[in-house]
């Protein structure tokens, strides 16, 4: 079976800064892949390239065998991207936002309504789904955005810091949803500062620093390779 994501020698520069410096990794279909690293390590740039938002300076990135540059539109039909600081349109209600986004994925109104139903279920906002997004708390907005990303049943969901800034309860809820979708076959690429979250969620992990992947494997493999109790310890040992 072909890889869900195949990144080969990816380089992305901003002027003289090499934000991503020749990284390579693959993600298998149905896998949850965690990309961890400190701030400005190149995580978001990598995710943005895979999500077709940024073009690679060099190297190649394929999503289900489709090139993210040459076949960007085809890739967009398979993926869903949740940026770290994403927002929703404040003057729309939650349900209108889901409906607006679903319109881009199907021409069939019945199918669209099914997507919206699914989105409402994932968001779990009950009656508040009819309120304007401007009135939502951070946790509610994040759950709405996650619902938007997952309601279209993407083959690959790219989530940048999915639980960033959320309280424990909301974070746990979101992690459960990711696990549940993964069981149904969705492939996930997740970036996070939260090593423990990545350890809990991910089948495999890539540790990125200064634009380079410095360690790659399952959480268990990494822990045993670096003789560590958890991924946080692995991260510290790799850094050293």
């Amino acid at each position: 079976m072909s890889d869900a994501v195949a990144v080969r020698d990816l380089v992305r520069t901003y002027g003289t800064l090499r934000a991503v410096d020749g990284i390579s990794f693959t993600i298998r279909p149905g896998e949850i892949f965690g990309l961890i690293g400190p701030n400005a390590s190149g995580k978001t740039t990598t995710l943005r390239v895979i999500a077709t938002l940024l073009k690679p300076t060099s190297g190649e990135v394929k999503v289900f065998d489709l090139d993210v540059v040459k076949q960007a539109n085809a890739v967009r039909r398979l993926i869903s991207y949740l940026p770290e600081e994403a927002g929703a349109y404040k003057n729309l209600s939650g349900i209108d936002y889901l409906r607006f986004m679903a319109t881009f994925y199907t021409k069939d109104t019945v199918e669209r309504d099914k997507m919206v139903e699914k989105g409402m279920e994932i968001a779990g906002l009950a009656r508040r789904i009819k309120d304007k997004v401007a009135t939502y708390s951070k946790g509610m907005a994040r759950k709405l955005l996650l619902a938007r990303a997952l309601m279209v049943m993407p083959k690959l969901a790219i989530l940048d810091e999915p639980t960033s800034g959320l309280d424990v309860e909301n974070s746990m809820e979101i992690r459960e949803k990711i696990k549940s979708f993964s069981r149904d076959g969705t492939t996930f690429l997740i970036s996070s500062h939260n090593m423990l979250e990545v350890e809990f969620l991910s089948d495999r992990v890539g540790i990125i620093r200064q634009g380079k992947i410095i360690a790659l494997g399952t959480p268990e493999e990494l822990k045993s390779r670096y003789n560590a109790l958890n991924l946080e310890e692995v991260f510290v040992k790799v850094e050293v």
Partner: protein, 427 residues
């Protein structure tokens, strides 16, 4: 089309918010209020005005003069008090003015001597209505003078046409325009055209600037609220996003401008009604413009509408290009400042100057600005300058198409997300 419609509706819902509409509604209410107040003043000015008249004579000429004043809409109260006492009474009892007829008025008139009637206008404010009232007294006396001199001359020269003696030379003024001849003075034509078209440039300026602000706000908000990144990863053509945003902004701008213009027209017509009220204004035949071909036919209005639409399109495309470099709604508004200046140049040029007499560099500047053409088109239509209209339409189409292509190209690249970053790093 479905996707485009969805984006347009979303744009309008995002842009037409209560917060955004409130200042417009407030201005509209203000205009309506001013218009209403002016109409109220107009009603006051046309109401009969009370005059106190000091007369110490019982000659029949006095009765004739007073009945003539009453016919002109004044309510006359006679008094034989002294001037000072009458002046005090006029102020206390809210008379508009005090007229003092000299004691010997009948004898002086009989001897063909000039008589001075003192008019004391009681000023209690400087409103339009009060100005009109004082003009009315003066013009009534002008008419009475003319009637009196006509009567005297008729008595002296019973066999001669008195009017010809009073006005031995008359001018019959005509204007010639595009080969058509009509009776009227150039000032009259100019006044008529200005009164009928003064709102057009204001409408153009407002619609173009609002549309630009709408699209800039839309892109700025997308960046500020971090919704753009998500939108750019959905499987739709980037050109559809650009066009949808532009059309959403254009429709919003037209809606706001229409609301605004309704109030402005109400406010403007209140003034023109006052102009017509003043006794000094000439009786204008409205068919004059038709006879000279100066009226706008449906075809001409269509051409004006087309040039305005193309100018809006050009402005939207340029505003989108400029807003790409902004980080948020505020900086997006600032980014389109050059565009606003480009709109103001043709607005003031066409208001203040005759474009035919402009120097070549200024002409080139005016013609290079795509937003000039809606301002130039009404005059070009009047004078049959069709090559200029065609040049304008062609140029605006080219400008808009180029700007839209560049904008769509930017939306298709990652420049939209990295533009600021690159600029920042270069510093």
């Amino acid at each position: 089309m479905r996707v485009l419609g969805t984006i347009i509706v979303k744009e309008m819902r995002e842009l037409l918010t209560r917060k955004m509409l409130l200042p417009f509604v407030a201005i509209m209410v203000l205009f309506l209020f001013i218009g209403r107040a002016i109409r109220g003043e107009r009603a006051k000015s046309s109401a009969p005005q009370p005059l106190l008249v000091v007369v110490h004579d019982t000659a029949s000429i006095i009765d004739t003069l007073i009945s003539r004043l009453e016919k002109s809409g004044f309510i006359i109260t006679r008094t034989d008090a002294s001037k000072d006492a009458a002046l005090k009474r006029a102020q206390e009892e809210n008379f508009s003015a005090l007229l003092v007829f000299p004691e010997s008025i009948a004898q002086q008139l009989a001897k063909a001597e000039s008589v001075t009637i003192e008019v004391y206008t009681i000023i209690k404010g400087f409103s339009f209505a009060r100005v009109i009232r004082s003009v009315k007294i003066k013009s009534t006396f002008n008419q009475i003078n003319s009637e009196l001199s006509q009567k005297t001359l008729q008595n002296l020269l019973p066999n001669l046409p008195v009017e010809n003696i009073q006005q031995p030379l008359k001018t019959g003024e005509f204007v010639v325009l595009k080969g058509r001849v009509a009776k009227g003075t150039p000032e009259l034509i100019q006044g008529l055209i200005i009164s009928q078209t003064f709102l057009i440039p204001i409408i153009f300026l407002m619609v173009i600037i609002y549309a630009s602000q709408m699209i800039a706000a839309s892109i700025g908000q997308e960046k500020e609220n971090k919704t753009l990144e998500t939108l750019l990863t959905v499987p739709i053509n980037r050109v559809a996003i650009v066009i949808g945003k532009m059309l959403g902004a254009a429709v919003t701008a037209v809606v706001i401008s229409a609301i605004f213009m309704g109030a402005l027209v109400y406010y403007g017509t209140a003034f023109s009604e006052i102009d017509q009220q003043t006794p000094s204004s000439t009786n204008v035949d409205p068919s004059l413009l038709y006879r000279l071909g100066l009226n706008f036919t449906p075809e001409a209005l269509t051409i004006i509408g087309l040039t305005l639409f193309l100018a809006i399109l050009a402005a939207l495309a340029l505003a989108t290009l400029l807003a790409v470099f902004a980080d948020d709604a505020k900086s997006a508004q600032a980014a389109i400042t050059p565009l606003m200046l480009l709109c103001l140049i043709p607005y003031f040029f066409t208001m203040l100057f005759d474009i035919n007499t402009l120097s070549l560099p200024l002409k080139i500047l005016l013609f290079a600005i795509p937003f000039s053409y809606p301002f130039l088109t009404p005059q070009a239509l009047i004078f049959g300058n069709y090559p200029l209209i065609l040049l304008g339409i062609g140029y605006m189409l080219f400008f808009s198409a180029t700007a839209i292509l560049i904008t769509a190209r930017i939306f298709a690249t990652d420049y939209l997300l990295t533009a600021r970053l690159r600029l920042w790093r270069r510093r």
